[in-house]
């Protein structure tokens, strides 16, 4: 499979008054053509920072890409000048943001906001761009697109605004779309519609998607592959089936265990004890060790390497070392893993009406 984007050993730090916060500490992943890669993890795990680093949208100062490369085709995005990067942003790599209520300019019509990218990257005239904007609004399912193109964001509902944001991102047929928690701020029925829309658009346009989320239900619905992040590192990566049916990292177990399910009522939710480490002073060894009931002595001393489970499945935990005791995930989580059906949408995407 053709790799369209490859991130190698990415380090991103923020210089604060308290010191250097190492938000991303050596992340490796790649994105294949036409696939959806989900990056999951709890708040502060570095998933948003990673995606913003790919877009080079980290405000500098205080943020900076300390080391690592972001290979996009034959270019290294980490090394490009701001000018060269502007040519890529919006045309080859686009981004959708979390909160549609705040990610549109309140004083500009949505038509103009869509047209900006077209005029900049595709040298379209104003009238061509406007036609294309109407087309895009239709594509993302906004009724009466001709009329609504001249309206302002406050005249749209949250779900409709997110569609507009998607239209902006897709305006120039980007090869990579980064969706940073695009459904988090929406209610569940609208979430389902937006996910369905993204799935449809991906099929039509062949875009590769990096999908950032903390919601495993969404992951099951949309992703081909999953990367689990914790404390600025990827701790486990694999296909959706591998992550949901055969998770190896105790943190992934924790994530699966803490996910509520609509199917049964007798299961208990298992919380991961403790809180993520302070990245101002990252712990020695495995960052997850203090919260890990299966932690061994070595976890506090040495960072685990990525152990290979299959060609596509890797996990960074000493439990996979040949000398480690064999550990089974807790019963409740095992039961849940069996109940997990990634091929079936967890939320009823197909049932959502078009009216938002």
């Amino acid at each position: 499979m053709e790799k369209i984007l490859e991130v190698n050993d990415l380090h991103v730090s923020f210089d604060t008054f308290a010191g250097e916060v190492q938000a991303v500490r050596g992340v490796n992943f790649h994105l294949n053509k036409g696939e959806t890669l989900a990056i999951v993890g709890e708040s502060g795990s570095g998933k948003s920072v990673t995606s913003k680093a790919v877009m080079r949208l980290i405000p500098n100062p205080p943020g900076r890409i300390k080391e690592g490369e972001i290979k996009f085709g034959d270019r290294d995005l980490a090394q490009l000048s701001e000018k060269e990067m502007q040519k890529i942003r919006g045309s080859e790599i686009s981004m959708i943001f979390q909160d549609p209520m705040t990610s549109l300019n309140p004083t500009m019509t949505i038509g103009k906001q869509i047209m900006e990218g077209l005029v900049k990257h595709q040298n379209m005239s104003k009238s061509e761009a406007k036609e294309r904007a109407v087309e895009l609004l239709k594509l993302v399912g906004i009724p009466n697109a001709e009329g609504r193109v001249n309206e302002f964001p406050h005249q749209f509902s949250g779900g409709m605004r997110q569609r507009v944001v998607i239209a902006i991102a897709l305006a120039c047929n980007p090869r990579v779309l980064i969706a940073d928690e695009p459904t988090t701020a929406l209610d569940v029925t609208i979430q389902a519609q937006i996910l369905e829309l993204l799935n449809d658009l991906q099929e039509k346009m062949g875009t590769s998607i990096i999908f950032i989320t903390h919601d495993l239900g969404v992951v099951a619905n949309i992703a081909d592959r999953v990367a689990v992040m914790y404390a600025g590192k990827i701790v486990e990566t694999g296909t959706v089936d591998e992550i949901f049916y055969n998770p190896q990292h105790p943190y992934t177990w924790g994530l699966l265990g803490s996910m509520p399910s609509l199917d049964s009522t007798d299961e208990e939710l298992i919380a991961i004890p403790g809180s993520p480490p302070d990245l101002l002073d990252p712990p020695k060894g495995d960052a997850f060790a203090p919260r890990n009931p299966y932690a061994m002595k070595i976890d506090t001393e040495m960072e685990p390497p990525l152990f290979k489970i299959s060609d596509t499945h890797y996990a960074a935990t000493w439990l996979l070392h040949e000398k480690a005791p064999k550990v089974e995930p807790p019963g409740a989580i095992k039961k849940r893993m069996q109940g997990m059906a990634p091929s079936e949408p967890i939320i009823g995407a197909k049932d959502g009406g078009k009216n938002v």
Binding site: L57, K87, R89, G90, T102, T107, G117, V165, A169
Partner: protein, 309 residues
């Protein structure tokens, strides 16, 4: 929108009448009489003068007469400049004041916006700190002090600019700087804060993610949104500017309305006090209305709330 403006105009009229009444009664509390050299006048002359100007009537009757004339557009005649219409006097005095006010407002706003934008874009740099020092100085030093210092250094010591009077563009420079300083300072500070606020908004990240150049992001997305609150402070600022002009006109001996206003109070020239006060009030009220309408033009969310008709 039409209905909204109609309603506003009615409330403006009521405000205007209230101001007129209050000013009238307050003015009647002023000590002294309108006539110079009163000790040289005989009793009969004073009675005659008072009769002529209706000052012997009870205050409520005077008030009633004044309001009646006011509503028919008659501001009365000056006591000091015998028999001249108040409206004529205002008319011939308004020129320099309006010129000075507008010039200060325009220059001050442009420089203020420019400094505020630069300070925000170069946040935490030398330029930022420099601008804010200017802003703090502009706000904390009263404009009559700036005027006096300029007169001394630029006018007397270095002989660069005329010290006072009103005779061509060179004469407007120092008064304009004195009046505009507070405008520059206020707007620069506000604009900086608003720019920083807007630059941190999600839609700025969206704009950057579209691949727009930083200039396009600032011009198309930041400045417009940052200027919405600036429009709000423009109202009080213009009002402050007008009152500032009163003093500055005195200092630079500019034959403007402000100078006339101050002198009319000192000499108890009742019709002029009333005329100029009402004129300034009317201006304030209109400025506030314009600010509200501007608000709607620049921010579509408010335009809609005002009613789509």
């Amino acid at each position: 929108m039409g209905r909204y403006i109609g309603g506003r105009i009615i409330s403006m009229l009521i405000t205007f009448l209230i101001i007129a009444s209050l000013t009238f009664f307050l003015m009647k509390l002023l000590p002294g009489t309108p006539f110079n050299n009163q000790d040289k006048l005989t009793e009969t002359q004073i009675v005659q003068l008072n009769d002529k100007y209706g000052l012997n009537d009870p205050v409520p009757v005077q008030y009633f007469n004044y309001m009646k004339n006011l509503l028919s557009g008659d501001l009365g005649v000056s006591f000091q400049q015998d028999g001249r219409e108040v409206s004529t006097i205002i008319g011939e005095r308004i020129g320099p004041s309006a010129y000075l006010g507008l010039q200060s407002l325009v220059v001050g706003t442009i420089i203020g916006l420019f400094l505020g934008i630069i300070a925000a874009l170069k946040h935490n740099s030398f330029l930022d700190y420099g601008t804010m020092v200017i802003a703090v100085l502009g706000i904390s030093i009263p404009n009559f002090v700036i005027a006096g210092l300029m007169q001394y250094w630029l006018g007397v010591k270095w002989q660069l600019l005329p010290v006072a009077y009103w005779d061509g563009f060179a004469y407007t420079i120092m008064p304009t700087i004195a009046i505009a300083s507070i405008v520059v300072a206020t707007i620069a500070r506000f604009m900086r804060t608003e720019m920083l606020e807007v630059l941190g908004q999600d839609y700025i990240t969206t704009a950057k993610a579209k691949g727009l150049s930083s200039t396009a992001v600032v011009i198309r997305h930041t400045i417009r949104n940052a200027s919405i609150p600036i429009i709000t402070i423009m109202g009080p600022l213009v009002v402050g500017l007008m009152t500032g002009t009163l003093v500055i006109e005195q200092i630079f001996v500019i034959p403007g309305l402000g100078e006339k206003f101050v002198n009319s109070i000192l000499t108890n020239d009742f019709p002029i006090i009333m005329g100029t006060t009402l004129f300034f009030s009317l201006l304030f009220i209109i400025v506030i209305l314009i600010v509200d309408i501007m608000y709607g033009i620049i921010d579509p969310r408010i335009r809609l709330a005002g009613g789509k008709s």
